[in-house]
Symmetry: C2
Subunit: 183 residues, 2 copies
DNA sequence: CGCATTCTATATTGGCTCGATATATGACGA
DNA sequence: TCGTCATATATCGAGCCAATATAGAATGCG
């Protein structure tokens, strides 16, 4: 599922400009999928070429033209076809976990700071998702995905709160007084 | 934290060839970070150019030469410096959730199949991580990250088991008998 | 009032990364 | 013998992100 397909999916719900699609990614999808202008605009151009969406230019007063994209029947079919294919594996890239992996090279203070920052960030995202969960205008899929995100983030917070002492302590053990670093 | 930096990190633990680094990514890191040959080999070349690792070619009988990389003191410093910088946000790309988002375009049967597949996959990954958790040779960081992964995956399984009926039922409501699709 | 920031809106570029593919050989089982 | 898997390196096209450019309006702040 590339950005192109996902744009098509968002357009099954309502017409939108590239800018609005980017906003849709940021509010509510960004916790499990994101996309940048650098992929959205070319995607919309290609979808237009392929006849899966149409583009209506709305000249605005004192603003750049707004290009409003609308899905075509062919586009709707193509998207439903894409949904039917088995989804690929999740791809996760977590700088936080990659850093924690090398906790033995960090000071306990650094590790504590890292985890504090992560907890703050995660709780903030959690609060945001809980707000979104209240919005009753959301589609059923949206609400399920939001609830999924909340469940996962809650597990992360609980894990960090309960287990952080394990990794914070480990950093001390790896640096017994007087011991030289390997190599 | 790019692949280049992560390769450097793995080399702080032991010397390795590109192939072995790829294996390290696949066993134990792949659930939160992955890398392909297409990024590992160029990364190692660049690290060598920059003097952060050295490369020793081991000509093998009847095999391609094995290029064994070893980190330099400068490389170790550069990596520890990189660890000190605040980590970027997690980037997640989940085809599964992207598909679920549009559950109202799928049949209940499709949704059930999707969730069954996801549960099977997640339980399998969970079993793998639980095996890895038993390995006592792992570094403290490894064990923490594995435990983190287990906590998250358990939450996902629980959520899907308890809430799948919500989304499976929603697909029916969106398709009341005789109702025409919007548009 | 002036200045900076933010928002709307589109677009491009460099560089990173993935997935597929190519090459070469050994081992193992059917 | 034939296919497949493992070892081992490497490249290429395509996809994608972060940064940047452009440009006017609105908003905030002192």
């Amino acid at each position: 599922m590339d950005v192109r397909t996902l744009c098509l999916g968002l357009l099954t719900r309502s017409e939108a400009s590239g800018y609005e699609i980017k906003k849709a990614f940021q509010s509510g999808l960004s916790h499990f999928y994101d996309a940048s202008f650098g992929s959205i605009y070319p995607a919309l151009s290609r979808l237009t070429e392929e006849g899966l969406v149409t583009c209506k230019e709305e000249p605005q007063d004192k603003r750049p033209d707004k290009k409003v994209y609308r899905i075509t029947p062919a586009g709707r079919l193509a998207f439903i076809d894409a949904l039917g294919r088995p989804p690929g594996h999740d791809r996760i890239r977590s700088d936080f976990l990659a850093t924690i992996l090398f906790a033995d090279l960090l000071s306990p203070r650094q590790i504590a700071g890292l985890i504090d920052g992560r907890l703050t960030e995660t709780r903030s995202l959690l609060a945001e998702l809980r707000e979104q969960a209240k919005e009753e205008t959301r589609a059923a899929g949206d609400r399920f995905v939001i609830a999924y995100g909340i469940a996962v983030l809650e597990a992360e917070v609980t894990f960090l709160e309960e287990r952080r002492h394990v990794i914070e302590g480990a950093a001390l053990l790896g640096r017994a007084p007087g011991s030289a670093a390997a190599d």
